[in-house]
Amino acid sequence: MSVEARERRQPWILLSPALTAIGLLLFVPLAFIVVYSFWLRTASGADQVGFYLDNWNEALTDPFYRDILFSTLRIAAITTAACAVLGYPAAYFIARSDGNKALLLLLLMLPFWISYIIRTMSWINILGVSGAVNWVLLTLGLTSEPVQMLYNEPTVILGLVHFLLPFMVLNVYVALEGIDVSLEDAACSLGSTRWQAFREVTLPLSLPGLAAGGLLCFVLSAGTYITPLILGGPTDAMYANLVFEAIITQLNWPLGSALSLMLLAVLGTLVLIYNHYLGMGQLMKGLG
């Protein structure tokens, strides 16, 4: 075998364990889900094997699923925007800080050491009727009775922002770190103000990081079901809750499969659009 041929094969040999794992743990289960989506659930709860389009017909045409999908995308978009607004200044501060960068990054990573569910439930102790905020309000005499703050859409968004903000900060931070600081100084030396230098130089150069963080936040928030379950009110369900309900409550795995593939298709399309314009490289940098 020639040296060139061996070199061509080498990456594939190195990648083969990872590719095997992805194949077995992602693509094979996905194939099962695709097959399941064409089966039917019978009245007894058992599945009827065959090729039926009923689930797809229901998932695609029923306005109930469409409305909740749009509502989910709206909540994900608001969450992403909130993460961008809150995360960019934090990332900028970390990137431009001297000396204590490692400590700040460590603080940013700290929440990941605690379970996502525990972090979400912590809001009950903060915003609940007997929570910290109400205790302060009552103690200061700012209100005569506890304010009901939990179990609505804003608290769902709050919980999602709490969960996803570090992903945004890390992505923007990586982009900002890659920008030569002297470019801003050069802009200022040519007559621009600090704000103009940021707006005309730094911000455009950091946009790929912002977009990568945005994509991650959007995809993760659109796929969540725990946050609305814990912090949402009666009507604050998201699309993943429908999948959960179809599979767990109604024992309708075929319909649940079709619904989950619908969500995968919508979010996959977004990833493809992102990849077309910005490439996946930036996303990998942020995750790395």
């Binding site: 009245a43 709860g45 058992a46 109930f64 009727v129 409550t249 024992l251």
Partner: protein, 379 residues
């Protein structure tokens, strides 16, 4: 009879002169050969029954099982009980359906309708009742309903019963008001934003039937029922998902009224919370059973069930979880605490409780769970 006992008896017969030395040694040799052949396979078989998995409702219920049943059982038999929890029967059934045979063994199921669903899916086992002599203490009515589903055989033993009644914070709602309004307290606009509800479609439909003055086991005007479910939804602060969440919402005063599980509410009362509890006329009565899932190590499971049905274990668990045991009070002295628990029936006939008719509920399960799922989300 285990091998040690068998050898001891053989030795005794030899020492008593019933066996001559030659025969005794011959039998020992044969037993040794049999043991040698048997052991490699026996070890494998025993390894499979080194542990039994038990799944229940978590919280005070699981604590009671662990303390009063599993730990003593493990101490006595050496078989470890691995206990898991679930938030609802639907969720658990889904997990069992996705599992390998034998992965899940015993479940603390609620209601005959769940028993029937497992049987319909072919997930039921057949118990050898001869291995469960303590079954004789159980209220016959509780056992009969299960037998009717599985052609006279049993896949479970009844274990306890309780009710899903109305729990309310006495600071805001008086006993008189609760009694007067009954199930309609849950659709009282005066408590908008302070009402809770279990996200279980059966409970929602049951209470909506009561709110529309219909028989919960035979509602005829379903439009009215769904409208009542919608009314309730619009007044709710939250649909709760688990017993722990129910207790937290009530204890923290996030909600003033909800339907609740009798044992959990009793636990809150024991903690000193001023929570009232009533069962409205035709309130939701249910019985729970210990169901053995197909593919489980039957003898080990039957031994555990027999151990758990022993009056001393059953009473201790009942006192711990605050649900009356399935033991017949006319046959077993249940002590002082159990007669004070909500839903307890001293006659053992359970005529005062309305149980869900499994045929009625399971025949509507597919359609109603879906409809409720939509209404729950604002439709």
């Amino acid at each position: 009879m285990d091998n040690t006992k068998r050898y001891e008896r053989m030795r005794e017969r030899y020492l008593n002169g019933d066996l001559d030395r030659r025969k005794f040694l011959g039998l020992i040799g044969a037993a040794g050969l049999a043991y040698g052949l048997h052991t490699p396979f026996a070890r494998q078989a025993l390894a499979a029954t080194e542990q039994v998995r038990f799944d229940g409702w978590g919280g005070v219920v699981s604590e009671a099982f662990r303390k009063y049943a599993f730990d003593p059982y493990t101490k006595k038999t050496g078989i470890k009980v691995v206990d898991g929890t679930f938030g609802g029967g639907d969720e658990y059934l889904s997990r069992v359906k996705a599992s390998q045979a034998g992965e899940y063994n015993i479940a603390h199921l609620s209601g005959v309708f769940d028993y029937a669903r497992y049987a319909n899916l072919g997930l039921n086992s057949t118990l050898n009742e001869a291995n469960i002599p303590n079954l004789k203490y159980v209220i016959p009515k509780l056992t009969d309903v299960f037998r009717n589903v599985t052609d006279g055989t049993l896949s479970c033993v009844p274990y306890d019963y309780g009710t899903t009644g109305i729990a309310y914070n006495r600071k805001y709602i008086s006993d008189e008001e609760a009694k007067k309004k009954g199930a309609k307290l849950l659709i009282d606009a005066a408590y908008k934003g302070k009402i809770g509800g279990w996200s279980d479609w059966r409970t929602r439909v049951w209470y909506a039937s009561l709110q529309t003055d219909q028989d919960p086991n035979d509602a005829t005007d379903m439009d009215a029922v769904w409208e009542a479910v919608r009314t309730n939804r619009d007044l709710l602060l939250k649909y709760w998902q688990s017993g722990a969440e129910l207790m937290s919402l009530l204890a923290e005063e996030e909600i003033y009224v909800t339907e609740g599980w009798s044992g959990r509410i009793y636990a809150l009362q024991e903690q000193g919370k001023d929570i009232g509890y009533i069962d409205p006329p035709n309130g939701f009565g249910w019985q729970e059973c210990l169901f053995v899932i197909k593919g489980s190590p039957m003898e080990a499971c039957e031994e555990l069930l027999n151990f758990m049905l022993a009056p001393e274990t059953s009473i201790a668990v009942a006192e711990g979880q605050n649900y009356p045991p399935a033991l017949d009070p006319t046959k077993v002295d249940l002590g002082d605490k159990i007669p004070t628990l909500p839903a307890f029936d001293p006659t053992g006939k359970l005529d005062g409780l309305t149980f869900a008719n499994p045929e009625y509920w399971n025949s509507h399960e597919q359609a109603w769970s879906k409809t409720f799922g939509r209404i729950q989300k604002g439709y």
